[in-house]
């Protein structure tokens, strides 16, 4: 079995590496995106203040400060997590509206200074708790999103279209006439794409880290594990689409149907914090959301294995489920 799997894996790797134009495109597109995004979003922050409130919900009637204009109030029930956001300048001020109100301000944040003035205008007796910590640039936050997006496209379209091309050309039919099984063939495709994605992601990670001066706060090994499980889950998702269909239009449409919601809702470009509950619930059905949540937790906050274990479990489970479904519904030839 291993011999057959390795034969197909070797041939697929050769095929990809010799297709220079595709290889170059795979590497250059995300680099261009990050540099472009760095230029666009790396400058001044958007003119909106974001204040965290230690509470499960925001009731503007409960305090005059909550009726301030141009301020977005975000309920944050977990005080520890809220303080963490403040030290990373993901929020500008943190308040607890008891009597008298208590607030935390990041003394390194100019926007913290401004929001503190707004609070004191509405609640002069509020008690000050200073914290400090350098803020995150948008490009630092965007970086895992770009890596994840590149992985998603490479996983879904790379494998989906390759299998479809093999089926349409009759290559799958020829393989079917050998002792090779569907499981062996699919495993070889998954492994080939996985090796490629991990390699490309590592090159991108190193290259872009140098360009934007990024420092990873967590374990690199944990990121590799996350990349492997995330890629497996998304490759297997691509296989479920390509497993049986023979029409490029249909497969292209179905892959778009999967990628666009992930592009918009998985948190590549902006945080889903504050968005409706059903959007967040929907977003957590996508493997990419779990990849990005966990990657940001590791890269920006230094999270360990225990903190991202639920994301890893989700990715592992979906990888197995998608692969099993793909192998079950696989077709070697055009019916």
């Amino acid at each position: 079995m291993m011999r057959r799997l390795l034969s197909v894996l070797h041939a697929r790797n050769l095929e990809f590496l010799r297709d220079r134009s595709t290889l170059l495109f795979t590497l250059l597109l995300p680099i261009a995106l990050v540099i472009g995004m760095g230029f666009v979003f790396g400058g001044p922050e958007r003119p909106l203040f974001k204040v965290g409130v230690i509470s499960t919900q925001i009731d503007p009637a409960s305090h005059p400060f909550l009726r301030q204009r141009y301020v977005q109030f975000v309920p944050l029930p977990d005080a520890g997590a809220a303080l963490h956001k403040l030290t990373h300048q993901q929020i500008d001020l943190l308040v607890e509206l008891r009597s008298p109100p208590r607030y935390w301000v990041n003394t390194d944040s100019p926007k913290g200074y401004m929001t503190e003035k707004l609070l004191l205008a509405a609640a002069p007796d509020a008690q000050r708790q200073p914290v400090s910590g350098a803020g995150l640039r948008y490009v630092d936050w965007l970086f895992p999103g770009i890596l994840g997006m590149n992985m998603m496209f490479s996983c879904l379209f790379g494998v989906g279209y390759v299998v479809l091309r093999y089926r349409k050309s009759g290559f799958l039919k020829r393989l079917h006439a050998t002792p090779l099984t569907a499981f062996e063939f699919l495993s070889a495709q998954v492994l080939s794409r996985l090796l490629l994605i991990v390699f490309v992601t590592a090159v991108l990670y190193a290259g872009i880290s140098l360009i934007i001066g990024f420092h990873n706060a967590g374990s690199l090994l944990l990121l590799v594990l996350l990349a492997v499980l995330g890629a497996l889950s998304m490759i297997a998702l691509g296989l479920t689409v390509a497993a049986r269909f023979s029409s490029e239009e249909l497969v292209g449409g179905m892959l778009n149907l999967l990628t666009w919601p992930m592009m918009l809702l998985s948190g590549i470009w902006f945080s889903l914090e504050g968005s409706p509950r059903w959007v967040q619930w929907l977003a957590h059905l996508f493997p990419l959301t779990h990849v990005l949540d966990a990657a940001r937790a590791v890269m920006l906050d230094g999270a360990g294995l225990a903190q991202i274990a639920p994301n890893l479990l989700f990715l592992g489970f979906t990888a197995l489920a998608f692969l099993a479904f793909g192998a079950w519904s696989f077709r070697w030839r055009i019916d």
């Binding site: 011999r3 057959r4 390795l6 034969s7 197909v8 070797h10 041939a11 697929r12 050769l14 095929e15 010799r18 297709d19 093999y166 050309s169 009759g170 290559f171 039919k173 020829r174 393989l175 079917h176 006439a177 050998t178 002792p179 090779l180 030839r333």
Partner: protein
């Protein structure tokens, strides 16, 4: 009697709009070249693909060495499809090596390359081969597991005469190694040259089966007279002769050559372009399947 290597029992393949194979049965003895002939749409490719285990039949069964097609068959069968695409960007040697890796037993890659005269092409991109070279590479892939049974589905269609003859020599050399070959072809010359036994299919059914020489003897005790169509007047069609229309000529079959010639002379049919020859497989094919164009 020799135990057949492959048994085909009452194969039926139905599609929503048509029945491609309508109850076909035959046995293939080991070590022979077995031909499946028939006009377009006769069910040849459907039959051979069911025999290869690629296509499931609607009903009926194919048995290899007495057992249903399974792992042993896949390990011991070599297949050359009518059309096969390989992976892009691989050389001839790498394409052959890929398939060699899929079998537990087989020939050395270099040996197969030598066997199919691909030495000078081994490092060329497999997409940059001519039609004849491509077929030789696909034959090499079909031989890579040193198969006991080789399926060749219209292997020389589209090749020029030199490439076709070159391919026939390769098949002859495989026959000499006592391999069983199943061949489908449109070329009667090819079938006559290579096949020890043939089945002629038409509209999904067998219309003739046996050794080519025996079939010819059964159907044609006579010789064939060929005349250009313009030399054969309409009035001559009333003569007591067995006349068959071919594309640009008429063919008259007879077991009494002298009487037939006298009849034609008496009817003043010009004989300066007359050709007399024994019947061949193409005559048998046309007699059994007709001359009308198939959809």
């Amino acid at each position: 009697m020799t135990t057949p290597i492959l048994e085909v029992h009452d194969l039926v393949k139905q599609y929503p709009a048509t029945t491609a194979v309508a109850g076909v049965s035959f046995n293939v003895p080991p070590g022979i070249c077995f031909g499946l002939l028939g006009p377009n749409g006769a069910g040849k490719t459907t039959t051979i693909e069911i025999m290869e285990g690629i296509l499931p039949p609607t009903s009926g069964e194919v048995r290899y060495r007495g057992a249903p097609l399974g792992a042993r068959f896949r390990e011991e069968a070599g297949i050359l499809f009518q059309k096969t695409a390989l992976q892009d960007f691989l050389t001839v040697r790498q394409s052959i090596a890929l398939f060699r890796g899929l079998y537990d037993h087989g020939l050395d890659v270099e040996e197969v390359i030598r066997l199919c005269a691909l030495e000078k092409l081994a490092d060329r991109d497999s997409r940059k081969l001519s039609g004849g070279q491509q077929q030789r590479m696909l034959l090499a892939i079909a031989l890579v597991n040193d198969p006991q049974m080789l399926f060749l589905d219209e292997p020389t269609t589209g090749l020029d005469p030199q490439a076709r003859r070159n391919f026939w020599e390769l098949v002859e050399s495989i026959k000499a190694r006592r391999k069983t070959i199943i061949l489908t072809t449109h070329y009667m010359e090819e079938a006559e040259l290579l096949c020890d036994e043939i089945v002629i299919l038409d509209r999904g059914r067998i219309v003739a089966q046996g050794a080519p020489r025996r079939l010819l003897h059964e159907h044609f005790a006579e010789v064939l007279l060929e005349l250009p169509r313009q030399d054969f007047p309409a009035a001559a069609r009333a003569l007591p002769l067995k006349v068959l229309d071919a594309s640009d000529r008429v063919e008259i079959t007879t077991d009494d050559l002298e009487t037939t010639l006298r009849t034609l002379l008496d009817a003043r049919v010009p004989l300066q372009n007359l050709r007399i020859r024994p019947a061949n497989l193409e005559d048998l094919f046309l007699e059994l399947t007709g001359t009308e164009l198939r959809p």
